[in-house]
């Protein structure tokens, strides 16, 4: 589906993209399970949602399912090709989680008003915890990606053998 060339740049970015896709899918799944179904903090639809919010939510929902599954198949493909760079993949996962959470927390919750984190008076506290948490995850993800991008881990792996 993605790069056909088997060079190391292809492998390196495939590790990242597999991680990002899986991260987005994973966090969307957790969001749905924990906040919608278990805690029931989020509402399926609160009437203040804008039209663009409805569209954004639908696309993200559809994309996140696809991302989870495609991310895992890409992961399996990397394993099969012996091309997995786990730290880089993990960096991608964290980047995907962080970006999704920030998008959800700032654009979807606050600007598009799809739904709030929880229907209480001091929702701002929830917003801050949510977005700062997302930012920290995002930064760790970027750190891991930068660390694995310079001298390709795959090269080191090859040299060691």
């Amino acid at each position: 589906m993605y790069m056909k060339n088997n060079n190391e740049i292809g492998v390196s970015s495939r590790n990242m993209w597999s991680g990002i896709l899986f991260g987005i899918g994973l966090i969307a799944f957790i969001d749905e399970t924990v906040f919608h179904q278990l805690l029931r903090w989020h509402h399926f639809y609160d009437k203040s949602t804008t039209d663009i919010g409805l569209i954004s939510d639908g696309i993200f929902h559809a994309f996140s399912w696809f991302a989870t599954i495609a991310g895992l198949f890409l992961f399996a493909d990397l394993r099969r090709r012996n091309g997995l760079i786990f730290q880089r993949w993990l960096g991608g996962v964290l980047l995907g989680i962080g970006v999704f959470q920030l998008y959800d927390g700032i654009i979807q919750h606050k600007w598009m008003r799809i739904h709030q984190i929880r229907y209480v008076d001091n929702v701002i506290v929830y917003d801050i915890v949510w977005n700062v948490g997302a930012l920290i995850i995002l930064l760790i993800g970027i750190y891991l990606l930068l660390r694995t991008s310079k001298n390709s881990t795959l090269n080191e792996k090859n040299a060691n053998e």
């Binding site: 399926f44 639809y45 639908g58 559809a62 399912w65 696809f66 495609a70 091309g83 795959l154």
Partner: protein
């Protein structure tokens, strides 16, 4: 006994929707039974001439037909007239679940195997025709499928469907065919004469699923004509969450086909270590 009587009674009232003696629902039912019998017959006949047709495919076809039958005749179909959630379930079965099982069963391959050369050639040329190419293009198929849903649930067509049995028949037939064509435009089992890239099909698939999700949330807030707020909320959540699981199945099959198609001959590391002329950039 009592519950059976009630069920029967309910069925009776639903039957009253039909006009002029012929029940369009039953007609659809016969259509699926015919397809099932035809498939099994074709398998038995061709098994005498060629190597055995996989049982797995025949089972898939049978499941697909049974699922389609459940959607158009019987208790679920009858309560679908008055119960919006039942209507939604029947829609999911008819235009999403049944088509996936049917696609896996490779009906076109079986038909080509059964037919004589002249007919097979004719069929192939029909399948290659401009019109069918157009209809089975992923984008066209997605619009016919999801666009049709939007049209039905956001306009007065939904009322018309409940008043006019013939129109209801047409709607069911449309969603069944549109569901099947969309499914086979995304996952390839039967011969496909114009293939589209995985990336392109993935994009169309995501947008189509999004269209389905958006519609279900839209209906949650804006019930279709004649449906109460409460019924609409329940029905749209069924459409959203049950629809999810069927879509997941479709995505898994799609990704699995990609995974098979991209199977490498060597692992990457083998490639680096061997003398193969790999284009290693940035080294």
């Amino acid at each position: 006994m009592n519950s059976l009587y009630l069920l029967h009674n309910h069925g009776q009232s639903a039957m009253n929707h039909s006009v002029s003696g012929i029940n369009p629902q039953l007609l659809l039912g016969f259509f699926f039974i015919f397809l099932l019998v035809a498939y099994i017959t074709a398998v038995i006949i061709t098994n005498q001439r060629y190597k055995k047709w996989p049982i797995f495919r025949a089972v898939c076809w049978t499941i697909g037909m049974v699922v389609a039958l459940v959607a158009v005749v019987g208790p679920l179909a009858n309560s679908a007239h008055s119960n919006f959630t039942a209507h939604m379930l029947s829609h999911l079965l008819l235009s999403m679940v049944a088509p996936i099982f049917m696609a896996v069963a490779k009906p076109v391959t079986l038909t080509l195997r059964t037919a004589n050369t002249t007919f097979a050639r004719k069929l192939t040329s029909i399948l290659k025709s401009r019109l069918l190419q157009f209809v089975s293009h992923p984008i066209t198929a997605a619009i016919l499928n999801v666009g049709g849903l939007w049209l039905l649930y956001t306009t007065n067509l939904f009322v018309l469907m409940h008043e006019n049995a013939l129109f209801a028949f047409f709607v069911h037939l449309h969603f069944f065919i549109a569901g099947y064509v969309f499914t086979i435009s995304i996952i390839y089992f039967d011969p496909v004469y114009h293939q589209y890239s995985y990336r392109f099909r993935a994009t169309v698939l995501i947008i189509a699923i999004a269209g389905h999700d958006i519609l279900s949330k839209y209906m949650y807030a804006n019930p279709p004509a004649g449906i109460s707020q409460q019924e609409a909320e329940m029905g749209s959540m069924v459409m959203y969450y049950a629809g999810d699981w069927i879509e997941v199945a479709l995505i898994i099959i799609f990704c699995w086909q990609w995974y098979k198609s991209t199977k490498p001959r060597k692992s990457i590391r083998d490639g680096f270590n061997s003398e193969q002329p790999f284009a290693v950039e940035g080294k």
